[in-house]
Symmetry: D2
Subunit: 141 residues, 4 copies
């Protein structure tokens, strides 16, 4: 496993390059528990009629948060791929706030990493969604 | 439960209105088993470096396919919301083909609908992803 | 929603009556956040060759913990049923310790409750499994 | 990957040895698509008050069916372990019939196998539950 832990800036640069279409930004890397906070803006393109943030936007955010939580620990490994993602939608997010995901890994094995993601409307206490996901980590790196 | 089953054209019109940003199109409604086929184009915006269709695009497609399979059966009920979606990514999709989702409901209850979605690269036999999802159906309609 | 919150003893009595075959016991109800701790003994009947606690034992524990966390909040409602359970197995549990589940609800709505369960070998810090589950709550009670 | 495909009898013998407490039996191995059918008796020990087959019994059946579907393909590899299982409960099973699981693999990779399981009350058409699960396959064998 690589020893180099990428910086916050390196991770954001990688994110821009790897997922050029998505609008997530890495906000925070917690050095103590390795959790990351990732944000997604909410505007016209993220809303459905009625003012709900669309489910796919939250799934995108969960997937990116998991990916960044892994890369923050193992270094930038572009070949890690999601094998499974499961999400529960809990409450309606606010239409006028960014959505924020906090992801923490529950397991970082040699071939699989499993993490949990809580999604909130920025500044709110009650989660709007919760996801768990598994990434397969390529064997040789 | 409403008796009116919307036409293929009505469903596509609703999709355009409800999810204006997404690029899914309803391709087929099977009258015998109620399954639907939904397509998503694959181009620059759907690909990650290396030529993989991004996971969030497949999750979007799965979510839309579930939603349309339900609406095809109960009529256009804009307030149905996803409560849970779980997806397994199985194989790398092709970069030069649309991705196609076939969704069939396993249960259509009064308050919950549960469906299964198989995702393929157009014209290929082996699935690239499989999802199951639950939608909550509003009580009064 | 019923106002009566059942006592620890009432919940354990219900558990014995409702699931007579299973060997889970309610250990703790946290009044502040409503979480519950449920234990399952580990002996010959729970082990597979090699000394692993079998997956189904952990799934049983997760399901019971979710059920009790809900009943602790809404009162004893025998008709609540699991609609979905998703579990990730993270590490090998110890063969010589009970397994303990801590469950906290993420959402308690009128018709659906969603909870998260962490499973540990008693006295250990690292979780052996993590589950999320949804229960449907009967409308009239 | 081992070439030897175990016989129906070998799989049942292994099942008895590996999971001595559980009461599943392998009923069928379909040579064409590799699917397996596994049964579980339903009696006093499987029922909850009200005559419902308990959720954990169905989860056990799903897990065993996945395991046997994998072993039927790769040979008897005792170290394969479940990493994830997700189940949707769809309908109330009958109290007076066995429950039957049909499992088919969607992917059999070098390190991960993913399968789908449909559960029925014996002789009935409508599924009572649907599960998907992932097994990690040990690297050297």
């Amino acid at each position: 496993m690589t020893e180099h832990r990428p910086s916050h800036a390196e991770l954001n640069a990688f994110l821009k390059a790897e997922f050029p279409q998505n609008r997530c930004t890495l906000e925070e890397v917690d050095e103590t528990d390795g959790s990351v906070v990732v944000a997604h803006p909410v505007g016209e393109s993220e809303l459905r009629p009625g003012g709900t943030v669309s489910g796919p936007v939250m799934m995108t955010l969960a997937d990116v948060a998991l990916y960044l939580a892994i890369l923050a620990r193992i270094g930038i490994v572009p070949l890690a791929v999601t094998t499974n993602l499961s999400i529960n939608f809990l409450r309606k997010p606010r239409a006028d706030r960014r959505i924020m995901a906090r992801c923490r890994l529950m397991k970082l094995g040699k071939t699989l990493a499993v993490g949990e993601v809580w999604i909130f409307s920025e500044g709110e206490d009650e989660p709007v969604a919760h996801a768990t996901g598994t990434y397969a980590i390529p064997r040789e790196r």
